[in-house]
Amino acid sequence: MEPMGKVLMINYEKCTGCRLCELVCSVMHEGVSNPSRSRIKVVKWESEGLYVPISCQQCQDAPCVNVCPVKALSRDETLDFVEVDYDVCIGCRACVSACPFGAMSFDVIAKKVIKCDLCDGDPQCVRFCEIEAVEYVDADRVSVFKKRDAAQRLSAAQKEAAALQAQL
């Protein structure tokens, strides 16, 4: 039985694309309001009015954890998320290339990799998103996603990528 922590649930239908979550995320972690240093990113299709906030999926058999050459990434058991140990991390960026969702980024200013750490259990993006497009809920409430495990999500993303590739 995998641990059932709380997860970020994203209801993109509600998202208005205001990107407040990006701002508060970078303020929380870096002390400056710079969306490019945020852990959560809003992907926008302006013409369709479609906004999808994306952050780390805290995968179960996480690709980033598997490729890290110095084992700086591990699963935090209490909050059930994938954590970067910055004392160990050497900044090789293998995890950035390995993450299937582009959720691991490299902060060129602080020169370190950044990913969602659930703000130690009090996600700021959730706190500030008044319309509740991002919510912090028990994992079993996210029924659709919990039925599909990480591997399946991964293969869906891959298929999508392959399909896009075929269109080119």
Binding site: P63, R93, S97, G102, S105, Q158
Partner: protein, 337 residues
């Protein structure tokens, strides 16, 4: 004046003079390079000094990867400096010289043992270089030459003090001259000896973690188009070994380099490695070094490795959108795509 007395007299003084000038020049060049790089950009003085200092201690963290080898290397270098400076015979010569300097000498027995230890280690390093395939392939002639040049004065010095080869025809008569000459050669080599970082072409994946660890900003990488170029300057490098310690592929090495050519190359940076960057299969932007992706490909399989993080994010947002329960609702409600 015959050859012997020339070697032991004027030539020796000329060599000492060159060494003195060389050392002063190097200190000046080093300070200049390091101050210049410090004013150019963010330079961590405290950290640099600490790492520099730590590299004189045998157990600093850059050697923990190969502790035994590091200890042997440390002993070797300690003997290399202590024996010639504190040898009773040498101290006596300084006292007789026009300077009349004198200092306490090392007991003869100690000097003997240290010399033997140094020679044994030199032999070990030499044969290790020949026997171990990885090291042999990465070695150049100058690596072997360097060990030979270092060992020769000690070998001849040992024979001299013990008179063990005095009965041989040519060697016995000229041992003294050979000793002094080889000592002079060694001093000259030492002045033009640099410790230089190399990134092994076979092992380095181009991840640039070493760049992040370098406290002086000596090792730099720049992504220019489809290439990641690593540059380096031996005057800025404090030989702290942080890069060696950091590299996950054991690709960064600190190596001796005899370089007269590099002596006056103070500020310009040498290009030491260039790595091909993979262009995203979708948007075409170069995003990660090819060798590193190849390495990741050994652990993970997935088409997504061919896409840059930005395109992966877009892909995922799209997938997410199609998989999510709201899409279904929307689709039935107003035939949204």
């Amino acid at each position: 004046m015959d050859f012997d007395s020339f070697v032991e007299g004027p030539l020796l003084w000329v060599v000492f003079f060159i060494v003195l000038i060389g050392v002063i020049a190097r200190v000046v060049f080093f300070l200049y390079a390091i101050i210049k790089s410090g004013t150019d950009r963010d330079f961590r003085w405290g950290y640099s000094l600490a790492t520099f200092g730590r590299s004189f201690v045998p157990f600093h963290n850059a050697v923990t990867k190969r502790p035994l080898y590091a200890i042997l290397r440390y002993i070797f270098h300690a003997c290399l400096i202590i024996v010639p400076v504190w040898l009773a015979g040498h101290v006596a010569l300084w006292e007789e010289s026009r300077f009349g300097w004198a200092w306490t000498a090392l007991p003869d027995a100690w000097a003997d043992w240290m010399t033997l230890l140094l020679l044994a280690l030199a032999a070990y390093f030499f044969f290790r270089r020949i026997m171990v395939k990885d090291i042999r392939l990465a070695s150049s002639t100058s690596d072997f030459l360097l060990i030979g040049i270092t060992a020769l004065p000690f070998m001849t010095g040992y024979f001299l003090t013990h008179g063990s080869l005095d009965s041989l025809p040519f060697l016995g008569d000229n041992m003294w001259t050979i000793h002094v000459l080889s000592g002079e050669a060694m001093l000259l080599v030492v002045v033009s000896l640099f410790c230089r970082t190399r990134l092994s072409l076979a092992k380095c994946t181009g991840c640039a973690a070493c760049e992040l660890s370098c406290p002086t900003g000596t090792l730099e990488s720049n992504d220019e188009g489809k290439l990641r170029i690593f540059t380096y300057s031996h005057y800025q490098c404090i030989c702290c070994g942080e890069c060696v310690n950091t590299c996950p592929e054991e690709a960064a090495e600190l190596r001796h380099e005899i370089g007269l050519g590099g002596f006056f190359q103070i500020v310009p940076k040498l290009e030491i490695r260039s790595v091909q960057l993979k262009a995203c299969d979708k948007c075409g932007a170069p995003f990660a070094p090819e060798p590193q992706l190849d390495k990741i490909g050994q652990t993970l399989t997935g088409d997504y490795l061919r896409f840059c993080p930005r395109c992966k994010k877009l892909d995922f947002a799209q997938t997410f959108y199609q998989l999510s329960p709201w899409t279904k609702k929307l689709k039935t409600a107003n035939n949204h795509p």
